[in-house]
Structures are given as C-alpha cells and as structure tokens.
Symmetry: C2
Subunit: 153 residues, 2 copies
DNA sequence: AAAAATTCAATTGTACACAATTGAATTTTG
DNA sequence: CAAAATTCAATTGTGTACAATTGAATTTTT
C-alpha cells in the first residue's frame, strides 16, 4: 500500500558504502603500521616522506618539497624545523633568490638513509600483497588523486 | 670494471614508488574534494563521517563511534563537543553505566541528513569512476586495512 | 626606473590524530 | 564483600593539515 513515509533514501549514506572512508581508514592504518618502524629512526611518517624526497634530490626548496608531497608551507615549515632540530637537514635562504629556502641533508641526514632501506620491504611483508598487486593499487590511487585534483582547478 | 661505489640501493626509497604515499596523497585529495561540499553543512570531513554513523544508528556511545571510525576518545571527545556546540548532537552519560557517554542526534542533526544525501553522488561524479570500479577499489582498501590491522595485534 | 602584481616562506588560528595519563565507574578475584 | 583489575571518556602534549594573512623579495607593467 506504499504509504508516504518521508523516505530518507536508504544506503547511500552508510559509512561502509563510502569509498572515501575506506581510503581514509586504510591510509591511517598504513601510517600506523609505519610508526613502530620509524620510531627507531626518530621520524614521524610525514617526516619520513620528506626524507624520501631529500634522499632522492638534495638541496630542494620548500616549494619543491611542497609540490612533491602536496603539502603547503604551513605544514612543511614546522616539520622542517623539527628535522633541523634533529640535525638531519639545514635550511638556508638561496642567495640567487632570497624568497626561496633551500633544504639540504646534513651528513647525519644522509646516513639515516641506510637505516631506512629495510622499511619498504618490511611493510610489503605486513601487507601480504604481491608486488604486482601493490603496483596496480598504487597506480590506481595515483590515478584517483590526479582525477580529483584536476577537476577542482 | 665495477668499482666499489657505496651502492645505496636504487629505487626502493623513491617517493613515487611507495604505495603508502599514493594512499596518503589520494586520501588527502579526496578529503579536499569533500571540503567545499561540506562547507555548506558546516561540517569538517571527520565530523561528516561521524554524522554518517549517527544517521545510521542514533544513540551510540563514544566507544562504539570510535570502533566504527577507528578513532580514539582523544580525537572524538573534542570533535563531539564541536558537534554539540553546533547543536547537532547531545552528549549524556548513560544511567545504566556512568562510564559511557551516549551521543544522540538533535532534531537539527537529524534534519541535516537531507542536505547530505546529494554528497556521495557529487563526489562520484568528481571521481569519474564506474560504480563497479568504485566498489572494487573500496573493497580492496578495506582488505588492505584489515590485513594491516590484523598483523599488529 | 617606479608602481603594481606576483611569488615565496613564515605565521596564525582551527581541527584533527594519536600516545600517554588520569580518574571515575564497573567488573572480576581472592 | 573488599581489593585488584579493567573499562571508559576526558585530558594533556606533540605533530600534522590546511585556510588565511603577512611581509619580504622578485618580476611584470606602465
């Protein structure tokens, strides 16, 4: 007899239906898995990502770091000050353009790389995933992020 | 002639190789995509997820909310106080067990649901993904999170 | 070249995340 | 039943995220 119940639509808003929540939860779970491994290096997860960039390419500006990590100076400036405090990087204005601040690894920062090399394999083991599946998922996520970011400009 | 270059291993640590970074970046990108939509509801993204749980099941404890969202009281208590401040929920100790705090929707909190119903479709459009692909990716991420969380106990 | 616009990092302010501790309420044990 | 252990939310403290503003340095326009 189909009476007029206000009919709030059914499962569209169920938490476990949401891709966004699965993404949010997975991201935090993976970060949490890194935490004990990074503890021995005295790095937080975002600090670790920052070091990855620097090990790849030393002497980048805050701006370039922000571009790679998709983070702004409001996040990076205090994070980099902590890395400097820990003796891992130096921060110096570029003489060629005094607006830019160049981040450089100290010897201690360079040496930390060796201790970090075992981490990705450690995590991969925790995830129990085939390397192929990991690459596929990684690429899918990159695709997703790229699509989302491209649409809002 | 293979001289002894210290041989820091090659690409294991490249940022763009990391599944974890793809996940971290995608999660933040998707959250950023929600932000303008949630602004009209005066909700942050974690507040929106909290409301999803409450719309699904009103009158839950902080503990139960934490279980669903994988967040602890350190995160939830101030978040819920803000939702209370905004007039969307009430927080009251349970008489049956005074340790527990029950979160209930106010009429305004219940009414907000209608405004939220268009959001998932909006986002889906932004992602340019087939519903099937979204479900598959969501399930893969849930699997990933479950595996990571199960290994650390 | 002087004025206007832009770029860059830093700062300020709000809101998560999360480890660790606290203290009240309840349950389990001896 | 009383003591010990556990559970729960709140609190404290650190470290991101990110919007918005600031102020100095550089580039572009007049």
């Amino acid at each position: 007899m189909k009476t007029a119940k206000p009919s709030t639509s059914p499962d569209i808003l169920l938490l476990d239906q949401q891709l966004c929540f699965a993404l949010y939860a997975a991201s935090r779970a993976v970060t949490a898995a890194y935490r004990p491994l990074l503890e021995s290096l005295d790095l937080t997860y975002p600090q670790y990502l920052t070091m990855l960039v620097l090990w790849e390419q030393d002497g980048v500006t805050v701006r370039e770091l922000g571009r790679r990590l998709q983070l702004d100076s409001g996040t990076l400036t205090p994070l980099l000050k902590r890395l400097q405090q820990a003796g891992l990087v130096s921060r110096e204005r570029r003489s060629s353009d005094e607006r830019e601040v160049e981040i450089r690894l100290t010897p201690a920062g360079r040496e930390l790389r060796a201790s970090a090399e075992s981490i990705p394999a450690c995590l991969a083991a925790r995830l129990c995933m085939e390397p192929d599946d990991m690459r596929r998922l990684r690429d899918e996520l990159r695709e997703l992020a790229a699509r989302v970011l491209s649409t809002d400009a």
